[in-house]
């Protein structure tokens, strides 16, 4: 079992993207106690925006812009149509509702774009390797590590240095008390949903560059793995959830590179066996101190 530099860079970049998705899922969970299973379908929609922009011959920046517009519009729509009416329901009902939304978006994609998928060729240049001191590393690996780090840093600033961030953290800790102390519920939830949408758009761009073949099940597997990672890290604390997302992305990148080819199809088995094992040992999350401690 040997791990090459290429594998390491790839695993780091996958970890970075999964960390962004984990924040997107974790923030909404923090304020709504809602696990958004349809998060992957938002990314899928963004990926289709990039793919179609490239089919229409738009420059890649216009495709990325379209991706952000589509993902944000859908995020807002989802919040208004589904999350808001169900806000007071049990987590199980909300989770199944997001299943229904995911199912719906996926079938719309199948009907509108077909099963086979579309190629987002405008992202091709990012998939070319860079030669760094004799080691071949895909450009997108470097770009996504940098972008993920920048996004996480900005988010950390937002959460710790601004009023909205403070409100969000307060709401995540105890929504009712936060409201009593003057935190405006709709603003906090709207803010969290908006950021989660932005992160979905960023993830869509990164994932499309990694894998330009956009199909109706684009990002579905990634979302499942990220969800596992988020719970693994500790859903109740944003930083822990982010670390969980990064860890599982990194682990699956390393495992994928290290497993011999005749066993690589069993990657999900190894990954989820590890997830179950960790959950049994640390049910509250890997990165959560036992018995509480402070959030963030």
């Amino acid at each position: 079992m040997s791990v090459s530099w290429q594998t390491l860079a790839d695993a780091l970049s996958l970890g970075g993207i999964y960390a962004l998705m984990a924040v997107g899922i974790g923030l909404v969970f923090g304020v709504l106690r809602l696990v958004n299973f349809a998060y992957g379908q938002l990314i899928m929609a963004g990926a289709y925006a990039i793919a179609y922009a490239s089919v229409w011959g738009w420059p890649s920046w216009a495709g990325i812009l379209l991706c952000f517009a589509v993902v944000l519009a859908l995020t807002m729509l989802m919040d208004r149509a589904v999350f808001r009416p169900l806000r007071t329901q049990s987590p199980a009902v909300m989770l199944v509702a997001t299943f229904a939304v995911a199912f719906l978006m996926q079938s719309i994609a199948i009907l509108a774009f077909g099963q086979l998928g579309t190629i987002a060729s405008s992202m091709g240049p990012l998939n070319q390797p860079w030669d760094i001191a004799g080691v071949q590393v895909r450009k997108i690996a470097i770009v996504s590590i940098v972008v993920a780090a920048a996004c996480l840093a900005l988010l950390q600033l937002l959460l710790t240095r601004t009023a909205v961030g403070l409100h969000m953290r307060a709401a995540a800790m105890d929504f009712r008390t936060a409201r009593m102390l003057g935190v405006r519920a709709n603003r906090v939830i709207g803010g969290a949903v908006l950021i989660s949408g932005l992160l979905a758009a960023v993830s869509a761009v990164m994932l499309t560059a990694r894998n330009p073949q956009v199909t109706p099940i684009f990002a579905l597997d990634d979302t499942i793995v990220v969800l596992a990672g988020v719970v693994l890290g500790g859903l109740m604390r944003p930083v822990a959830a982010t670390l969980g997302g990064f860890t599982i992305g990194f682990a699956s990148g390393i495992l994928g590179g290290a497993l011999p080819t005749n066993q690589s199809q069993y990657l999900p088995t190894f990954l989820f066996a590890a997830v179950i094992l960790v959950l049994l040992i640390r049910p509250n999350g890997l990165f959560v101190r036992a018995g509480g401690g402070d959030r963030l």
Binding site: L86, A92, V93, L104, L111, V231, L232, I276, L279
Partner: protein, 326 residues
Amino acid sequence: MRRLLEVAAPAALVLATALLGLAVSSALQTYFLDTLVKVAIVVALYVFIGNSGVLSFGHISFVALGVWTAGVLTVPAAERTAIMPGLAGFLSHATVGNVPSLLLAALAGLVFAFAVGLPLMRLSGLAAGIATFGVLEIVNNVLRYYDKIGPGLNAFSSVPETTGIWQAAIGALICVVVAFAYQRSRFGRQLRATREDPAAASAAGISIYRQRLLAFAVSGGLAGLAGGLYVHLLPIEIDSLYLDLTFITLAMLVVGGSGSLLGAVVGALAIGGLDSFLSAAENGVDIFGWNLNLPTGTSVLAVGALMALILVVRPSGITGGRELGR
């Protein structure tokens, strides 16, 4: 009387569906058979999820295990090596009949669910959800690629197609009766108590872990039985026993109302019926002399939209999670 209604109402719905299925053409009957098997799966889900209030995403792996058990053991020995060349050990020749294969499927589901539940039932909430999801991932992954034990990516073809309308109806009825007997037993009542108030239930001396484990094993057995029924209905592939089936069956349970046995049956019949009708309409059907022909894909779209709509408008499901007369 009321107690009788609790089992009679869902049983009557199952029987009515079966009788209706006898009256239609054999092409349409497939939809009724499929819906009855879905009823069995959703009732199996209900036994655990409905009574415990804990979500499980792993039950389709018990269905898959039932499919595998009944499927591998009933393919005629002469054809087995042609369909599943990689089979090892006794799997390559041991053969059983229809009913034993169903019993073994149920047993496989029960034993596996018990074994998985032993560690997993210590978890609750989202950790339990993700861990059971992990079980689904692993079972799916292994059955899909490990061809020493089954057909791998291929379908379970050449399995005798013995699930006719009566076998499907009796299977679904067995699930309904077992679910009723369970929820009326002291174990079922204890588990429902832990669902309502875990702290109070523990204080009253109920072991949450043991009650959940028991329900998990029982519902695993029913799911295995449903899997056995399924593989005798049509040649299915392991791939169709994965996310889509997990979502649709969970949605059936929640849309019907996850708190009651009646809700499980009503949800499965309502969504199963609608899905079947729209799928049939995609191939063109005549309703009272009026020809309805919908574009392909309408059914998935309509079912998804309807599921979301019902959950938004009536989050506790069609039945509100109540039995008839309560």
